[in-house]
Structures are given as C-alpha cells and as structure tokens.
C-alpha cells in the first residue's frame, strides 16, 4: 500500500472500526432506537416509513403528507399499519407508489385529503423515484441499510425524546360521522393542472377499489392553509369522494384542534397522533385494530 507507512495496521483499524460500528448499530436497532418516527431529514423520515411499510404486509395503509407521517405506523413499532406519509409531499405520492406496485397496500387504504392539491403540475419527487431502487431494496431487506438505521436520525430522535419528555394524555371520546354528512359538493374553479390531479387520484383510487380494497378519505386535523385554498382543497376532496364513490370524514369536525396537541402548530404531537389514528381505525371499522403504542413522547 503506497502512501501508507503501515498498511496492515491501517487496514486492521479500518476493518475493526467498520465491524464495531455495524455491531453497535445492530444493538441499537434492537432497542427503542429502531422505532424512528421522525429524523432530522424529511426525505429519510419518509423513506423509513415507506421501507417499513414495504417490509411486511399491512392491514391498513396510510397515504398522505407529513401530517399522515406523524401517525404511528410500522416504523414506530405499530404492527399492521403501513404509513406512506411523505414529508413535504402529498397523498398522490403514496398513492402512485401503491398504484405502480412498488409498495403493497393493505385491505384498507386511508387517504389524507389535506394535501390533495400539493405539488400540482410538478415532477415526480426524488423520494418516489428512490423507491424500488437498489438502496431502497437493500434497506428493505437489511435493516442496517434502511433509512431508519441512519445514525444521525437515531441521534436526532434521541434528542427529541430527551427534549419532549413526558407523554401526553389521551382518551377523548371518538365521534363517528357518516361520510354523507361531510360529502360537500362545493362548486369551485380548478386549474387544468388541478383537474388533472383530481382525475389522477380518482383513477388510482378506482383501480384500488376494483381490487377489493376498502378506501376512506380523511381530512386530518393540523396543517396550516389560507382559507381560500383550504376551501379549494375541500372541494377537490369532495369531488374525489363523489366520483370515486369512497367515503370521506373530516376529523377536524370530530376532534377539534383545541383538544389535540401539535409539535409546531401544524403537525400532531405523538399522543394526539395515536388518538387520531385510533379514531380513523374506529371509523374505518377495522375489526382487529392494530395495536397503537402507548405514548412514547417521541
């Protein structure tokens, strides 16, 4: 080995450090560190959820944005719930992953409506392009290479846990609404791109329905939208619900914001996220509800 005075020692140090680092990572992954709901990177937080969801069959699959991403899925140790929430993305990204067969879908599909019109007219995101690629597959098959196993993400999650401390209380009564109560036929002007987006969602949902998958559209509590835009999104969701013949619920009508906690005014805090998920599952009539973990204070 030129340029190195002791190639043997150098190689020994290199290989030993590599082995020790993998060993330490493996040990950490066996503990709570393996449950990584949110790392420092939107991209890898989303990828971690998708990898976890793609690793084993789901009984419920969630698609949406970072609002959905906060709901506890398999990546948080919540067996059976595949969470395809894409931070900074929209419902369409998760739906397109399912529609293209790159990620499997459970018998029940929950679609967030808050971000139906986010990223309209844009190109497919880097995240959706990454799913199915060699790195993604390596991470799906071997947890050490997964997005959830990134040391920096584990460090960030640990910091969050340390900072946020005690769990929140839950246990508010759930109110179930029939979708017809909130199926709004709000007349609204959509741009061509928005119309294409709505049609795209209807088409993808139609394909899933034809496979016998039960679908529920959900407006999640949280997120911050300008009133005019929020009305447009509601109209788009109503149009999808009506055309695809899938029920829709507005969770904000059921669980008012004041009864929920948010980490930043937009995204649900862990306890509230667990409660919202429980409500959704109850509304969806999931016979055997996947276990929702007790509050972790993540």
């Amino acid at each position: 080995m030129n340029g190195s005075s002791h190639p043997g020692r150098f190689a020994f140090g290199l290989l030993t450090a590599l082995a020790a680092a993998f060993l330490a990572q493996t040990l950490l992954l066996k503990g709570p560190a393996a449950r990584l709901p949110k790392g420092e990177s939107n991209f890898f937080s989303s990828l971690a959820r998708i990898q976890a969801a793609a690793r084993q069959p789901n009984s419920v699959t969630l698609v949406g944005s970072s609002l959905t991403g906060r709901l506890p899925g398999m990546e948080s140790g919540n067996a059976g719930v595949g969470n395809l929430g894409v931070d900074g993305g929209s419902t369409v990204e998760g739906l397109s992953l399912i529609d293209s067969g790159r990620v499997g879908c459970g018998p029940v599909l929950i679609c967030e409506t808050n971000t139906l019109l986010v990223g309209v007219g844009g190109k497919p995101s880097l995240l959706t392009r990454s799913v199915g690629k060699p790195w993604f597959e390596a991470g799906r098959k071997c947890v050490n290479f997964s997005a959830a196993a990134r040391p920096s993400s584990m460090g960030y999650a640990g910091l969050l846990k340390w900072k946020r401390g005690a769990p929140e209380s839950t246990g508010m009564p759930f109110v179930v609404m029939d979708h017809s109560e909130v199926s709004l036929a709000i007349p609204h002007e959509f741009s061509d791109a928005e119309e294409r987006r709505i049609l795209e969602v209807i088409t993808m949902l139609g394909r899933q329905r034809s496979k016998g998958i039960g679908i529920l559209l959900v407006k999640l509590p949280g997120g911050v939208q300008e009133p005019g835009y929020a009305a447009k999104v509601r109209a788009a969701a109503a149009a999808v619900s009506s055309a695809a013949e899938v029920p829709m619920i507005d969770l904000e009508a059921i669980l008012p914001r004041r009864e929920l906690s948010f980490t930043d005014g937009a995204h649900l805090a862990p306890g509230s996220a667990a409660r919202v998920l429980a409500t959704i599952l109850e509304v969806a009539g999931i016979p055997e509800r996947p276990s929702v973990p007790s509050e972790t204070g993540r």
Binding site: R9, G13, T16, A17, A21, F43
Partner: protein, 484 residues
Amino acid sequence: MLFNSWEFLVLLVLTYGLYYFSPWSGGRHGKAWQVTLLLAASTIFYGWEDPRLLLLLGVSCVGNSIATAKIILFKSQGDEASAKRWVRLAVILNLALLVVFKYAGFLAGLVPGLPVSWVAAMKAIPLPVGISFYTFHGISMIVDVWRGEVTRESDDMLSRGKRFAKGVRDIGFYLMFFPQLVAGPIVKAKQFWPQIAAKLHGDVRWGVVVRSLIAGYFLKMVVADNLAEQTGLLTQPALASMGAFELIPLLYGYSLQIFADFAGYSLIALGLAAMFGYQFPDNFNFPYLSTSLTEFWRRWHLSLSSWLRDYLYIPLGGNRKGEARTYLNLFIVMFLGGIWHGAEWKFALWGSLHGLLLGVERFWFRGRERTVSSWWMRVAGWVYCFQVVTLLWLTFLMPDMHHIRLFFEGLGRIDGARGPVLYTVAVFGGAVLLYHAAGWLKEHRQKWFSRFRGSWTEGVCYGLMLFLIVTNSGAPQGFIYFQF
C-alpha cells in the same frame, strides 16, 4: 453519469477489470489498449444521459488535435509566425465554443435592440455539461505545445494517417478522461501528457486510492448531500418566512456544503485517476484554514487558480508591469474567474468582490511581512477570511439578486429556528470542521501527523467514514460544480 450512481459503479468495475487483466493489457499494445478503453469508458460516462453532448466534445477533440499537429509541424520547420497564428486560432475557437454554448444568451441580453426572439433562441442553447472544463483543457494543450512544454509524444503527430489518429486518440483521452471530464480538476497538458503510458496493476498507489475515495465519497455523500436538504430551503419560498436564527446557520451550512461537495468530487476524481495509474494535482488544501483571501485562493480550487495564473495572469503581464497594472490584472483574472462559473451577473459580482478584496489585501500588505506571526492576528485573519468567503457564497447559492435581498431582510427577523436545520448544520458541518482540524494538525504538528499517517487510528477514522457512507448518506444530489 454521476460518481455516486450504480451505473457508474458497474462501468468502473468493468473498466478496471479490462484495463489491467485483459490479454491486451500488457505487452506491445498495452498503452493503445488501455488508452482506448479509458476513452471508450469516458465516452459512455459522458454520453450516458444525453449522447448528443458527445458531438460537441468530439468537435473539440478533433479541432484541438488538428491545431496541435499544425503547431508542432510549423515549430519543427522554424515557422514561428505560422505556429503562432494556429495558437491564436485554436484559442479563439476554444473560447468561441464556450461563448456560444455558455454565454450567448447572456451576451444577447446585453445588446440593445436585438429582437426578443433572437435573445430567446440564444438563451435556449443548452449548456453542455463540463464544457468549461474541457475547453480549458483544450487551451492548455495548445499553449503548452506552443511553449514547448509538451513535446516528445506530440511529435508523433507530425505524420499523417495512423500516427495522427494516435495523436487524436491521446488528445481525446486527455480532454475526456472521465475522472476530470465534468468538473475537473483542470489538469494541465504538461502535467498529464507525460503520464500517458501502459500501466501495471502492481504500480497502483492503493494508499492514495483508498484515502481519496473514502474521504471524497464521505464529504460528498454524507456531508454535502445531507447539508443540501436543509440549505436548499434558502432557494425555496420558505426563505421569505425565515428569521436570522435559521438564515445564518443555513448560510454557514452552505459554505461548508460547497466545500464538501467540490472537495469531495475532486478527491473522488483523484482516487479514480490513481486507480488507473494517473496522478492528478490536489485541488483543495484545507481552504477554510486560510487567514486571508490571498491565502484562500492558494488553497481553494487550486487547479483553476493555477490555470488562470499560467494562461491569463502571467500573459497579461502579472506583476511585472508596475503596481497599477498588477491590481488591474488581479481584478481582470478574478472577474473572468467569476464569469467562468456561469453567465450571470451574480458570478461577475462574486469574482469582482474577490478581486477587489485581493487588491485591498495586496495594498495592505505592501512592504510588510506577508505572514502574520502573532496568534491573535492569525485568528482575526481566519475570522475575517471565513466570514467574507461565506458571505460571498450567497451569490453562488441564490438564484438572483431578489433572493439575496430577501435573505438580508430575513436577518432582521428574530424567530426560533427549526430543529432539523440546527442539528444538520451542527452534525454534518461539524465533520468539515473536523476535516480542517486534521488539516491544521497536518500543517502544524507534522511529527504527530506523520505518526498518525498509516496507523491503526487513521484506519479507524477511515473505517468510520466508510460506515457512514454506507448508512448515513444524504438524498442523492448532483455535484454543484457540474452546472459550471
């Protein structure tokens, strides 16, 4: 094709295997086989995304080969005037290529009264990847041959036919060799040409290969790509709502990211070249240790600084034509160096400000000892240099002056910062600081560093970097310097 893509890995492994272990690798035709193979691999590498780009590169190769042959021919006949005419013609044609494909739209926008459709047509000319680099390689070839610094091998080109074809092949190889093709380092012809020869597997400097590749991929994939996810916020609509506590860390983050991105690329290029038996000059020498801008430019993008010095600053007269002319030359070189990065006023502004500050430093140090000895002066110099360099990177990052204004307006807002921003800049930016701390030890604690070099503790550092490359790389991004 990107160095951090799977297709590149496949190309590299195949090329490496065929380069050293095919039946044609040794013996009489070893050089021909290896150079042709690398030329073919470089063609695939460059044409992978858009094969049409190869046409322009082919024109550059053949054009520079013809000019080189002519210059050698006339020089051997003692016809200096004709040789000089060919040098001028070749340099002008190389620059014309750059002007048409890189600056036409920009220049057309400056001409008053030009029909809008013409301006639009010129702005629509696509920028071929790496044109700034291979054009500079072409000019280096021409000038070094003219100066007699590249001679022996080029004499082969005196004859026509097969020998000329060999000359075209070798010049094409120099221009296209894939590690340096897209973003440098800008290896001068006089440095590269003597190295073109048959290579043996046993001669590979594995220490250089392993260190360069691991450090390069670590800086690029772990540091720069992770920082990019956060610093990218500065160019998005979110900029308008950010406050000082986010903007300032993000600007420092970008300063560290651009170093990690480009130094990482350069190290990968250096390691790849070493795999095939070629030695590239260092492109970075711990630039953020600099205590003045003058020193910064002796540590940052060394191959460009050296190119500009040899082929622009010295031909302009350098510092040999009086004080005033020296300042002017300095400014011209930095202004053109800025414009070289892109056909936009923001790059001109960046280069001009560097040129002005270099002039101010030169004036300040006039008649004084250039190296400051007291530690507090060094610290003060380091603080000044790092702040100025970082601030000026704003012009690189921001798409236009409006965004720069938004940045400064945001500095007036005192809001809380998002956790991921601070965490990412601290963790991944910290890696760049550690890298420079190692550089400081290398320069100031040489005895200690020489013991560290090749030891198992150094191996541990590289092992950890390798682990992080595999487990903690960021979302794949293109190299920043590819756009230049």
